[in-house]
């Protein structure tokens, strides 16, 4: 063994797109055949869900053991790419807030009434300055709101929000 190596690095399996075949199955899940092995139902996880939602996708088998990392969806064929993005869209489905209709401070909770891409919604936020924040404080674009039930709401771009909506939450966003 080489004495200069002090740490043996873990194996990093970057998925070879030429050997991977994703297929949608009945019952709403995704299966994978990779390098001749049929993995059956697989799970996808984004490593960088906000900055690079289409890159570094971890693919693991049904027991949670990682099969490999998909470097970039762009390297997949059109057909495969659509299958994987559809699955990701389903897994990461989260209605985006488009307008804040009202925000009331009552009993130490903020009660919000918002319009989302999935319709109107009312929810309550505890400890608003902690639960309403920029996902990436350096870039100040996407805002995440967590309600008392643990649901997450995303505002895709704070700067594009209309001014009356923005005013209702700007005090919490520093």
């Amino acid at each position: 063994m080489n004495d200069n190596i002090i740490v043996e690095l873990a194996d990093l399996e970057m998925i070879d797109v030429n050997e991977a075949k994703f297929a949608p199955e009945k019952g709403g899940y995704l299966s994978l055949t990779y390098k001749g092995t049929e993995y059956g139902k697989v799970k996808l996880n984004r490593a960088l869900p906000y900055r690079a939602p289409d890159e570094y996708i971890c693919v693991s088998d049904k027991d949670g053991k990682e099969i490999g990392i998909l470097r970039d969806l762009a390297s997949l064929s059109e057909e495969q790419k659509k299958i994987v993005s559809d699955e990701l869209d389903k897994l990461y489905y989260s209605p985006a807030v488009t307008r804040i209709l009202s925000a009331k401070d009552r009993m130490g909770f903020m009660y919000f009434e918002v319009e989302t891409t999935a319709g109107k919604r009312e929810f309550a936020v505890r400890d608003a300055s902690r639960n309403i924040k920029f996902i990436d404080p350096d870039r100040k674009t996407a805002v995440q709101i967590r309600d008392v039930d643990g649901n997450r709401y995303i505002i895709d771009d704070f700067m594009k929000l209309d001014s009356s909506s923005a005013k209702k939450i700007e005090a919490f966003l520093i």
């Binding site: 199955e25 019952g27 709403g28 389903k90 489905y93 319709g119 505890r126 649901n151 997450r152």
Partner: protein, 765 residues
């Protein structure tokens, strides 16, 4: 809970909608609320099942105002109704995604893929567990159990709309601020006379300050300084000055008196509140303290009582004073000159409006400043505690730069506040001055033309009153926020006071001052969180005077078993008896006296070692304390401490090692002299050497008691009469050490694992 009560909790508007679709409520077995339709759009969706079908009712709840006494009512805007037969479904389960989850049906035919039934947001997933349990029980042929704990109230009983936060049962639509205030006033009833005196003084002093310009300015100008009024100038001036001084002194004295009275009432009311909160918290069960929001609750109690304190010390009196002043000044102004008063009256709404805007702007600016400061200080403490790491990675410079970023943002926020202050206040002053000018102009014209008996003195006095009007106006425009905050605080405090403990004493408790120590668990089921049973159908019996060892992997439910035996929680199903009596019926005082717990979490209270050992029995003599300490192998190290048994421990006291603390806690249990002893990983955190010392102490403690011991290290349990192996909430093996080794099952595996580990270390050494 009976099926009828369970079904009666379906909100009326939903039950109506269901009936309208030909479904009888009484045929429903279970129901649940979800929040999305099939396409993932938000909606109010209800899911039900009866013996044949699963039904979805989708629509939108809408709160309507009605004229009646119950002012609000929820109506259901129906969208769709579907039903699917569940004949070929085996069971239901939830699949969680990142922000949403879905309910899937497993088919009876294993080759059939799962079917997605419905989607909902993640927060709903936990609330559907009872629906799923009911369904799966139904499929297993078991009747549905409607337990109280699982079906927490999700809907406001008054208007039927969903609580925004089910853990905080306050409906923002129906909250009655008046009743909270009334209840708060209840705390003042012992101080009625003092309060009357206080408000009387308040009124007198306000009248003084309202009248003083009239006496001072008007008399001075009109009766003394007016040319042509023939008078002894010095005498008159002196008299007016004397009146002014006298009025001032009198109002000063009254002010001092008021402060004394307030100081005599409010701190005691707040004291009363705090004591009641504290004892309410003591009454609550352990589960209250393990629930995740305890931390914020504790800090809030202090902040909330302070909010109430300041509102009553400062806010409420100011409301009275300012309201009186406002009305008094207006009356005098109208009495003096109604035309000029009308000009002022027109200005008031404009000013009120301006005040509100300014306050809102400032609140936001101050909030930004506050958050920036909080961020900065949390960054400082973060970097202080991370110094070793920062140095190790040589990141001092970068950290400095990051700090300058935080500090810069904080400075920018300060600048904004101060710029806003220096712009807005002069602007406001300008508007007030304009009003003054208008009044002075009109008043001047009136003096010249002798309209309505206007004099210079009158005009001067009038403008003086006008300037006095601004401060009550400012206050009244703003006090409603303060008031709302006080009510919020009071509401939160009452919430704690009203919380009902999960574990409560039975109405006719059985007194058992002397227990024998036979413990019997029969078919016990228990879950902390609905739908996640920790203990499933467990039966276990311990004979009096015996020692049972509980063995199992982390998370198997071992600690839960002993918590249930000590009745820190109540079982969901089955029963636990001690000497044949259900623990739910035993007087809690006897439970606490007869069951001693030594756990790996050692808590010693602030005080001397002797006080801590005596905790269970403050009357214990010094001889008993020393004897207990000796039995617990603690005496020797205690005597080596310079202050001996008077050494102060707990927060801020002498530092003791884990083993020393544990021995003190064992001595404490010895003084308690319980019939049943629970050892929950009592020596887990100790090294082998210390463990050996404590083992002896524990062995001494166990004599003549029923002992239930949990341990990771199997060697700790070598004295156990019998061992119970627990796995995932079930007892999988039961017997003596030799029996279980012979059986070569789970215990054997665990034993060999640990044995192997020891062998390995042996080789390495």
């Amino acid at each position: 809970m009976t099926a009828e009560t369970y079904l009666s909790r379906i909100p009326v508007h939903i039950a109506d909608a269901l009936r309208a679709r030909g479904i009888e409520i009484s045929s429903i077995i279970s129901y649940g609320y979800t929040d999305m339709d099939k396409d993932g759009n938000f909606a109010d969706c209800w899911i039900f099942f009866d013996k044949d079908n699963i039904y979805y009712l989708t629509g939108y709840d809408r709160v309507e105002k009605t004229g009646g006494r119950k002012k609000l009512k929820t109506v259901f805007d129906f969208v769709s109704f579907d039903s699917i037969p569940h004949e070929d479904i085996k069971s239901l389960e939830i699949e969680r995604f990142v922000s949403t989850a879905r309910l899937v049906a497993k088919k009876k035919d294993e080759n059939e893929p799962n079917e997605e039934l419905i989607r909902f947001s993640l927060g709903i997933a936990n609330k559907l567990t009872s629906f799923i349990r009911h369904f799966n029980d139904f499929k297993d042929g078991k009747p549905a159990e409607y337990s109280e704990r699982v079906d927490e109230e999700l809907f406001c009983p008054k208007c039927g709309s969903r609580y925004p936060d089910p853990e905080h049962k306050v409906c923002p639509r129906c909250m009655d601020k008046g009743s909270v205030f009334k209840r708060l006033l209840g705390f003042f009833k012992f101080y009625k006379n003092k309060l009357i005196a206080y408000f009387a003084m308040l009124i007198i002093s306000t009248v003084f300050s309202v009248l003083s310009p009239y006496v001072g300015t008007k008399l001075l100008y009109d009766n003394v300084l007016t040319p042509g009024v023939d008078a002894n100038l010095f005498g008159e001036v002196g008299l007016v000055l004397a009146v002014i001084i006298l009025a001032r002194v009198a109002s000063l004295l009254i002010n001092i008196g008021q402060s004394y009275i307030v100081a005599g009432i409010i701190p005691w009311v707040v004291y009363d509140l705090k004591v009641r909160i504290f004892s309410a918290m003591q009454r609550l069960s352990v589960s209250f303290y393990t629930s995740k929001q305890t931390g914020s609750l504790m800090t809030r109690v202090n902040r909330d009582s302070n909010n109430i304190y300041w509102f009553f010390v400062d806010g409420a009196p100011s409301v009275v004073v300012n309201a009186l002043m406002f009305i008094g000044i207006l009356i005098i102004m109208f009495y003096m000159n109604w035309q000029l008063s009308l000009i002022v009256l027109v200005m008031i709404p404009l000013l009120l409006f301006l005040y509100r805007i300014i306050q809102r702007a400032f609140r936001k600016l101050h909030h930004v400043r506050w958050i920036n400061e909080a961020n900065m200080s949390s960054y400082i403490s973060d970097s202080m505690s991370g110094q070793r790491i920062i140095k190790a990675f040589a990141k001092e410079r970068e950290e400095g730069e990051r700090f300058s970023g935080y500090s810069g943002r904080s400075a920018a926020a300060d600048k904004r506040v101060s710029n806003a202050e220096s712009t807005i206040f002069p602007l406001l002053g300008l508007i007030m001055m304009l009003t003054n000018l208008v009044v002075l102009f009109v008043g001047g014209v009136m003096i010249i033309h002798h309209i309505n008996g206007m004099t210079l003195g009158k005009l001067m006095t009038f403008t003086a009153y006008m300037n006095m009007l601004y401060s009550p106006l400012d206050f009244l425009a703003w006090v409603s926020n303060w008031w709302a905050r006080c009510v919020d605080s009071a509401q939160r405090i009452f919430e704690i006071m009203d919380a009902v403990p999960d574990v409560s004493e039975s109405e006719n408790p059985v007194r058992m001052p002397e227990m024998k120590g036979d413990i019997e668990m029969k078919n016990v089921r228990f879950e902390y969180e609905p739908g996640h049973p920790i203990i499933k159908n467990l039966s276990l019996s311990v004979k009096a005077g015996h020692m049972v060892g509980i063995v199992g992997k982390t998370g198997a439910g071992k600690s839960t078993i002993v918590n249930l035996m000590a009745r820190l929680y109540d079982v969901n199903d089955g029963e636990i008896t001690i000497d044949g009596v259900n623990v739910k019926d035993i007087a809690s005082i006897d439970m606490r006296k007869n069951i001693g717990i030594v756990s790996q979490e050692i808590y010693l209270f602030i005080g001397t070692i002797a006080d801590n050992i005596r905790y269970a029995n403050p009357g214990a003599s010094m001889e008993e304390v020393i004897q207990a300490a000796k039995t617990a192998s603690a005496h020797d190290f205690i005597m080596r401490l310079p202050d001996g048994y008077e050494t102060r421990i707990g927060a801020g006291g002498q530092d003791l090692s884990g083993g020393e603390k544990q021995r003190i806690s064992i001595a404490r249990t010895i003084i308690q002299n319980p019939k049943i002893l629970i050892l929950d990983e009592a020596t887990a955190a100790m090294d082998t050497e210390t463990e050996r010392n404590i083992q002896q102490a524990l062995f001494n403690l166990q004599q003549g008691r029923t002992t239930v011991a949990i341990a990771h290290r199997l060697s700790t349990l070598r004295d156990a009469d019998v061992l119970a192996v627990i796995d995932r909430g079930d007892m999988v093996e039961y017997g003596t050490h030799d029996e279980l080794i012979k059986k070569q099952g789970e215990y054997y595996k665990l034993y060999m694992l640990q044995f192997d580990a020891i062998k390995h270390i042996g080789i390495a050494e």
